[in-house]
């Protein structure tokens, strides 16, 4: 048996629906159709009345989920693409994100964002928005990189009493496979050493974990052992694991698919620079996407986001410093 990242997301939702009466799924085309990416395939039939198609109203989809969560439900909202969450951002940041702090009543919603770039998708179907959500208080922002994490973290997202923005990567949907669903997992907030190493630490998350691992494998043929830290959630961000890794390697390269200004890379470097300055043997480095909208054409798209080639080049350079 083999299961994809996308199937893991479907299975997690199936299990959440099965085990917890409070769960319902709310989103455009998630019902009989099973969602634009089929992440809810078959669920409407298995759980009648609990997997509901919505109008094209991202603000109201999240607002509705917030109201339901306040009243004790555990809604999962699917955005058709992460990019469209820009029109739900106010409800996510200002309503869900502030609710517990203001009222002491928790607001356990999960907002699923099919994120990240794929070929030919262009500026409005490719975005990685974790930085917007992580910047504001009151939200947990998950960025699973593996089939196992897609499954277990989504289950955990639903079980947490706080609002979770769940950034699942579209590129991994079909590309990534595992043998089976996991039976245990790290808790939210713990990063994972995706590959152990000693010469350089790559801190990354989501689809870029796999690029980083490919680079580590490539460079290991030249005798360099790169450690790859998969953040798993960018908020909370596991500073401890990152620092421990940098303590081992002395070198830090941050890799992320989102835009360069601010964001996870900047945050990780800021944490290491402020809290682990003496651990660094060389200047830390980062690779982001470029500071333009995400291009439609595959030629441009490949160059816009970091990839194994650009990461490897930067890693080699950093190893020489």
């Amino acid at each position: 048996m083999s299961i994809t990242y996308l199937e893991a997301i479907r299975e997690a939702q199936a299990r959440a629906l099965k085990e917890d009466d409070r769960v319902f799924i709310y989103g455009q085309d998630v019902g009989a159709f099973g969602g634009a990416f089929k992440a809810t395939k078959g669920l409407a039939k298995e759980y009648p009345g609990r997997v509901l198609d919505t109008p094209i109203s991202e603000d109201a989809m999240v607002g509705t989920a917030i109201g339901a969560a306040i009243e004790g439900m555990r809604p999962i909202v699917e955005m058709q693409f992460a990019d469209f969450s820009s029109v739900a951002l106010n409800q996510i940041l200002n309503n869900a994100g502030t609710h517990y702090w203001r009222t002491q009543v928790p607001c356990p919603i999960t907002v699923r964002l099919p994120s990240g770039g794929t070929k030919g998708s262009g500026p409005f179907h490719s975005q990685s928005m974790e930085a917007l959500y992580a910047h504001y208080p009151g939200l947990v922002v998950m960025t699973p990189a593996t089939v196992e994490d897609a499954y277990s973290m989504l289950l955990e997202a639903v079980s947490l009493d706080d609002p979770v923005v769940f950034c699942e990567h579209k590129y991994l949907y079909y590309h990534l496979k595992a043998d089976a669903l996991p039976t245990e997992s790290l808790p939210t907030g713990k990063a994972r050493i995706a590959r152990a190493g000693r010469d350089l630490t790559i801190v990354t998350y989501s689809a870029m974990v796999h690029e980083a691992i490919a680079v580590a494998e490539e460079l290991s043929r030249d005798g360099f052992e790169l450690e790859v830290v998969d953040l798993r959630s960018v908020k909370p961000l596991d500073t401890e694991t990152v620092l421990a890794s940098v303590a081992r390697t002395g070198r830090l390269l941050c890799v992320g698919e989102s835009f360069p200004w601010g964001g996870t890379n900047a945050e990780v470097i800021a944490r290491v620079a402020t809290e682990g300055f003496h651990l660094l043997d060389a200047a830390p480095a980062r690779i982001n996407a470029k500071d333009t909208p995400i291009p439609y054409h595959p030629n441009l798209w490949e160059a816009h986001r970091p990839n194994a080639k650009s990461i490897a080049a930067r890693a080699r350079q950093l190893l020489r410093e």
């Binding site: 109201g67 004790g72 309503n95 002491q104 402020t274």
Partner: protein
């Protein structure tokens, strides 16, 4: 959760003369429709007394503000008490109220303790918002009263969600009521909330008050339709308009809308017409309100109008009215005095946790 103040009936039932019957016609119609167990004059008196309390409290807030005793803004519902009290009066425990800026009346009737108001405005540590949020941004969601965010329109869909949750949980006989100003009706969030309410067919009542201004902006720059109530049919709501200065009409129309929603009719939109008889906030002298508009019939003070009616029709005597006033003032003074004695929140003991799951808090150095 409709905590009614003890209503002292001044006129015996027999005193409901034909003349009074005629004068109460509208209120009665309303009351019949909402299946009240009380006679219409009782309902009217009850509502009036709530209006008096709301006004009394808000006058006090204004004076505290002028005295420099309140941090931040003070936003009053002066002139809108009839609408607002009617919004609270037909709700019961298990219902949802999502109030907005000018809903002192509805909040109180729905069960908000006076002390919540005082504590929130005065920043007491013991208030429902514990100094984290202030003024109108208060609520007790666990008791069905939502805590609004400022962004206008956002609370409609939240109310829809709360009602869906009740349906999921198998509760029965509930409704939700949320309010909006005519200005907020231009917000995209409001539209999405209205549409999704109709799609989900939740028992929702949206009471919009066109008080003819959004801050300083007059209706001409807010919308261009003939009648805001016409928006109802574009969503599949049932809609109607009401004179927001006429308490009996408000009780009738809003009461009926609540009743229809509770009975499973489509969502309800009521558009009330009033004038905001205060500044946008107490910092604002509302000098942009033209003298002409102050002469319009929607510019009447709903409280004064109700009072005049009650006195004129001998449903209440001046002495009782004085007593009610005094009682309201005493209650308000009491709440304010209590809140004023209470400690303010302190940074040192504040836990600075935006998450309920403390172990997930990530406060970097």
């Amino acid at each position: 959760m409709c905590h009614s103040p003890e209503v002292k009936i001044i006129c015996a039932s027999s005193a409901l003369t034909t003349k009074l019957r005629f004068m109460l016609r509208t209120a009665e119609r309303g009351a019949n429709k909402v299946e009240t167990k009380r006679a219409p004059h009782e309902r009217y008196l009850e509502a009036f007394r709530w209006m008096l309390r709301a006004r009394t409290f808000e006058d006090k807030l204004a004076s505290l503000y002028r005295g420099g005793l309140i941090s931040g803004g003070v936003y009053l519902g002066r002139g809108q008490e009839a609408v607002s009290v009617a919004c609270g009066l037909f709700l019961q425990k298990g219902d949802i109220l999502a109030p907005l800026i000018r809903d002192q009346g509805a909040r109180m009737v729905f069960g908000e303790p006076l002390l919540d108001v005082a504590r929130t405005y005065l920043g007491s540590k013991h208030g429902p918002m514990r100094g984290r949020d202030g003024n109108i941004h208060r609520g007790r969601p666990a008791e069905g009263c939502m805590a609004m965010i400022s962004h206008l329109g956002a609370m409609v869909s939240v109310t829809v969600g709360a009602l869906m949750a009740k349906r999921f949980k198998g509760e029965r006989d509930f409704v939700g009521l949320t309010t909006i100003g005519e200005g907020g009706m231009s917000a995209g969030a409001w539209h999405e909330g209205m549409n999704i309410a109709a799609v989900e067919q939740v028992p929702l009542v949206v009471v919009a008050t066109n008080n003819h201004y959004a801050y300083s902006t007059p209706n001409e720059r807010e919308f261009a339709c003939h009648d805001l109530a016409d928006r109802a049919q574009g969503y599949g709501f049932e809609g109607c308009s009401v004179d927001g200065t006429d308490l009996a009409a408000c009780l009738d129309v809003i009461g009926s809308a609540v009743k229809r929603a509770r009975a499973g009719r489509p969502p309800q939109l009521v558009v009330a017409s009033t004038l905001r008889l205060a500044g946008h906030g107490e910092h604002d002298d509302a000098s942009y309100v033209t003298p002409e508009i102050r002469k319009e019939s929607f510019a009447q003070d709903s409280l004064k109008r109700a009072e005049a009616f009650l006195l004129e029709s001998n449903l209440i005597d001046p002495a009782t009215l004085e007593t009610w006033r005094d009682e309201a003032a005493a209650e308000v003074e009491d709440a304010v005095a209590t809140a004023q004695k209470e400690p303010a929140p302190e940074a040192e003991t504040e836990d600075w946790c935006a998450l309920s799951m403390r172990h997930l808090v990530d406060q970097p150095a």
